[in-house]
C-alpha cells in the first residue's frame, strides 16, 4: 500500500481560465506512478499545457498507447477524455481504427522507444505511410525502464549502461525513419525544455495528418548517469535548436516568410536558428541531421513540416461523418447494397 497523497485539487487563486472556462488543472490526470524525476512526467505537463492553451474540450480527445513507462502516461493527463491502453507496439493499429471510425476526435498517441522502434517498428512505419491524423509522441530514453534498464533501439553506440557496459549496436533514429517514410510533420524536442516542446505539440495538434514528435526524455533511474547519451546533463550539452516554432491559431495573422499555413488557416511560424537550415526541404533536412549526428549533436525543433500531404481519409475517400453519427440505414445499408458492391468488383 502506498502512503503517497494525491495532488491536492486546490490551485493557485489566480490560475487563468481558457476559452472554455477551464484551468490548466482541469487538464490533468491522476498522480503519476513513474519514478520521481522521470522525463515523461515533464512531457505530461507539456501536454496538459498545450491542450489547455488550445482550449480543446477534454471529452473530444482520445488518448492511445501501447506498453511501457511512456504508455502509462495517458492516465496522467486529460482525466475527462477517452483512452485505450493497447497491446505492446500495437497502438498504431488501434489509433488507425479509431480514427477511421471517428475522424472528429483529437487523437494523441504516446509511445516509447521500445514500443515504437522494437516490438512496434512495423506498426509505426505503416502508421506514417497511411498518414493517420494523430499526434504521435515518442518518449525516447534509450532504455527499457520497466524491465530494469536494458539498451533500447535508440541507444547510441558507446553509450554506457548503469553498470558500465557500452552499447555496441547502432541506433534507429525515429526522426530519419519518419522523414524517409514521408511524414509531413517531424519534430524533436527535450522533456526539459517546455518552452520549445509546448509550441511544437500545439502545432502538431493543428497539423492535418500524422504529426511525429521525438522527445528525448531521460530515464532518471536507469539512464541518467555519466557515460549515458540520454541523461539530463548530456542532453543539455548536446541538444542544438535549429528551428523555433510558434503556433499562431489566429486565422487573420499576417503570413510571413518561413510560415506554414495549415488547412484551417492557422499558422506555424518557424524561425530558423541555424544558418542554412531549410525546414521545408525533406532531403536537405535528412542530410543535415545525419551530418550533425555524426558530430555528436542532437538537433531539436520543428525539423520538417509540409502542409501538402493528404491524410488517410482523403486517400481512402471516406465518408465525412463519424460512423457513430451516421443513421443506421446508411451505416449498414443491407444485403442488397452489399451484393451490388460485390458485383462491382467482378
Amino acid at each position: 500500500m502506498t502512503t503517497s497523497i494525491n495532488k491536492p485539487r486546490v490551485h493557485h487563486p489566480d490560475l487563468a481560465p481558457n476559452a472554455l472556462g477551464l484551468t490548466r488543472r482541469d487538464y490533468e490526470g491522476t498522480m503519476s506512478t513513474l519514478c520521481a524525476g522521470c522525463g515523461h512526467d515533464s512531457i505530461t505537463a507539456a501536454i496538459v499545457r498545450a491542450f489547455w492553451e488550445l482550449s480543446i474540450p477534454p471529452y473530444r480527445v482520445a488518448k492511445l498507447s501501447g506498453i511501457g513507462c511512456s504508455s502509462k502516461t495517458p492516465t496522467y493527463f486529460l482525466r475527462e477524455s477517452h483512452g485505450f491502453n493497447s497491446v505492446h507496439g500495437r497502438m498504431p493499429s488501434v489509433a488507425t481504427g479509431a480514427n477511421a471510425a471517428n475522424r472528429d476526435l483529437v487523437y494523441i498517441g504516446v509511445s516509447g522507444d521500445g514500443d515504437s522502434l522494437s516490438i512496434g517498428l512495423g506498426q509505426f512505419c505503416h502508421l506514417i505511410r497511411r498518414n493517420v491524423k494523430l499526434l504521435y509522441l515518442l518518449e525516447n530514453n534509450g532504455v527499457y525502464g520497466l524491465t530494469k534498464g536494458q539498451f533500447s533501439a535508440t541507444a547510441d553506440i558507446g553509450s554506457k549502461a548503469k553498470r558500465g557496459e557500452a552499447n555496441q549496436q547502432g541506433p534507429i533514429d525515429p526522426v530519419l525513419v519518419a522523414l524517409t517514410l514521408g511524414a509531413t510533420f517531424v519534430a524533436r524536442s527535450f522533456s526539459g525544455d517546455k518552452e520549445e516542446l509546448v509550441p511544437i505539440i500545439k502545432a502538431a495538434l493543428a497539423h492535418n495528418g500524422f504529426a511525429f514528435v521525438d522527445i528525448i526524455s531521460p530515464c532518471v533511474t536507469f539512464n541518467d548517469h555519466e557515460g549515458s547519451t540520454k541523461s539530463y546533463a548530456y542532453s543539455r550539452e548536446h541538444l542544438h535548436k535549429v528551428v523555433e516554432a510558434d503556433f499562431v491559431p489566429l486565422r487573420k495573422e499576417i503570413v510571413g516568410t518561413g510560415d506554414v499555413t495549415l488547412h484551417d488557416g492557422s499558422v506555424v511560424r518557424l524561425r530558423k536558428v541555424a544558418p542554412g537550415y531549410d525546414p521545408s526541404d525533406r532531403d536537405a533536412v535528412s542530410g543535415y541531421l545525419r551530418k550533425h549526428h555524426e558530430a555528436g549533436e542532437v538537433l531539436t525543433g520543428l525539423l520538417y513540416q509540409s502542409a501538402d500531404g493528404r491524410d488517410m481519409h482523403a486517400i481512402e475517400k471516406t465518408v465525412a461523418t463519424p460512423l457513430v453519427d451516421l443513421p443506421y440505414e446508411q451505416l449498414c445499408p443491407g444485403g442488397a447494397a452489399l451484393e451490388k458492391l460485390q458485383r462491382s468488383f467482378k
Binding site: 502506498t2 502512503t3 494525491n6 503519476s32 539530463y232
Partner: protein
Amino acid sequence: MLPTNVTDPSYYHRVVDCQWACPAHTNVPEYIRLIAQGRYADSYLLNRESNVFPGILGRTCDRPCEPACRRTRVDGKPVAICRLKRVAADLRGDIQDRLPQAPAFKNGKRVACVGAGPSSLTVANDLMPLGFEVVIYEKLPHSGGLMRTNIPSFRLPASVLDEEVEMIVGMGVDVRYDTPVSSMRALLGEGYDAVYVGSGAPKGKELDIPGRHDSDQIHIGIEWLESVHFGHITTAAPRVLIIGVGNTSMDCCRTAKRLGGTDVKVIARRSRRHFKASPWELADAEEEQVEIVENHAPKRFVVEGGKLVGMEFEVLQWGEDGNGRAMSTVQGTVIIPCDLVLLAIGQENAFPWVERDVGISFDEKGLPVVDRVTMMCSRPGVFFGGDAAWGPENIIWAVAHGHAAAISIYNHCYGIAVTERPPEGMTLTSSKMGIHQWSYHNDYSAAERAKMTHVDLRERFRELSREVELGFTPEQTADEVQRCLNCDIETHFTDRLCIECDACIDICPVDCLTITHNGSNEAELRIRLTAPTPNLSQPLFVSGPLPQTKRIMVKDENICLHCGLCAERCPTAAWDMQEFDLKLSYAGRSV
C-alpha cells in the same frame, strides 16, 4: 539576485506566517500537530512557553496570527488558531508537576512590579524560576489587571483566569493586594534591583461635549465594566448607547444586554472598514442583536430635568480631501433617545504617581520614553511594558513585553548591558520517513473553518457569567487541526543536487516554483514566475546557480501548501521537507 540565506532564522520564521505575526512568536503549527495527536498537555506547555496564558488567550486573544494565516490566501478563511489553543487548555489535564518551579535558593536579586496584569505576571513567570524575588504591587484586591476587570466573565470565566495566574503566583511571588503605588520615588527608595511598570492604561478617554456632566447615566466604559465586575452595578437601563467601536465597546454592549439593556446601539464615527473591533467580536455582538450605527459623530447629550433622554449626533459623509486624507462633511443632525451612555473611545496611560524628577523622561504626550527592544526607560533599572509603555495594545503584546523586559532585568541585575540580547536560533530536521512518508500529515484537507458553537441567545442572557462559547467538539477539532498547512515544515532546497528535471514544478499544485535565469532585482523576477504574484509581503526564495544550466530555482512562498510533493517527486532529494523550530531566548535561558 543573490541566493536567499536560509541559515538566518528570520527567513524560515517569516514563512511561518502565524508565528511571525504573533508578538510572542508562539510555535503554532507544532502545537496544532500536538493537538491532532491528542497530546493536549504537551500542546498546552508549548504554548505556555511563549504566551504564558494559553487558556486566557485561547478565549480572548486579539489573534494577530489569524489574519496572517496562509490558509486565508488559499481558501479564504484562516485556521481557527485561537480556539484550538483553548482546546489544548481545556483538555490538558493535570500538568502541575511539569510547570516551572522557583528554586529554594534565591539569587538575592529583588524585583518590584507595578500592577498584577499580564505583563508583570510574565516578568514574574520568567524570573521566579531563576531565583529572583518578585514583589507585585496591585491596587485592587485581586490579580489579572484588565483581564479580570474589563473582559466580561461570559468571555473569560474567572476559574480559567485564576488557574493560570496561580501557576505564576504559586511559585512564591509576593503579591501585595490593595497596595497602590503612589510614589515612584518611594518605590525606588525600597532598594529593589529593578522596577517593572506594568500598570496598564487604566484611564478611559473623556468625551467633553455639552451635557457630559449633567447626568449620572453617562459612564466611561472601562470604569463601568469594572463596576459591573465588582457588583456595584447590576442593572442597565433599557436603551443604551455605546460610543466608539473598539473591543472595549464590544464588551460594554454585550454586558449591557445581559444587565437589562433591550435596545443597545454602538455608535461609530466612521464606516465599518475603519472599525477597531475585531471582526469576530463585532459578529458576536451583532448575533446578540446589538445595532451598529455608522458615520455618527457625538454632538451633545440631551438631558431634560436632570434625566438623560438622548444624544444628538452629526450624521457624517466621508470623502477625501485634496491630499487623499479622509474628510467628513456633516449631512445633518439626529437625536437618538437613550437612558444610558457608555464611552468607549479609547484609553490612556496615566502616571500621576511617577515624579517627574526621578530620572524618567516623558514625551510630549505624557508617555514614558521607553526603548522598543530593552523596555528600559531613561532611568537604568526601570522598565515599562504592556499598555503602560505605549498605550493600549492587547494581552499578547503585554506578554511579549514581559518576556523582553525579563531578559533586560536579568542582564541589568547581573551587570550585563541590557542591549546585549541573547540570540535567536533554529533547528532544521528532515521530516522524511520513506519515499512517500513524512513525519507530518502532508495531505491537504479541504475542510472548511469550524464554526464555534454558542450558547443559545435566551440561555446566555440568563446569567452574566455564562460563557458564550462552548468550545470545539472533538469532531470539529479533528477537522480544524488538519486545515493547518504545517508552514513550519519548510521546503528546503539544496541547489547543487538539482538536475533540473522539472518534476517539482510540474507537481506543485499551486505553481510556487520556477526555474529561470537569474534577474537583477526581485520585481523583474516576479513577473517571470510560473504564477506571477503581486503579493510583495511574501518573500521569494532564490537558489544559487543550478549545476547544469546555471539557471536558478525560485520559490514564491505566498501560497505554498507545504504538501511536500516537490520533495516527494524530487529524484535527488534536492528538495526536502525540514521541520523548522525557532529557538527563542528567554531570561537566563539563552539558546
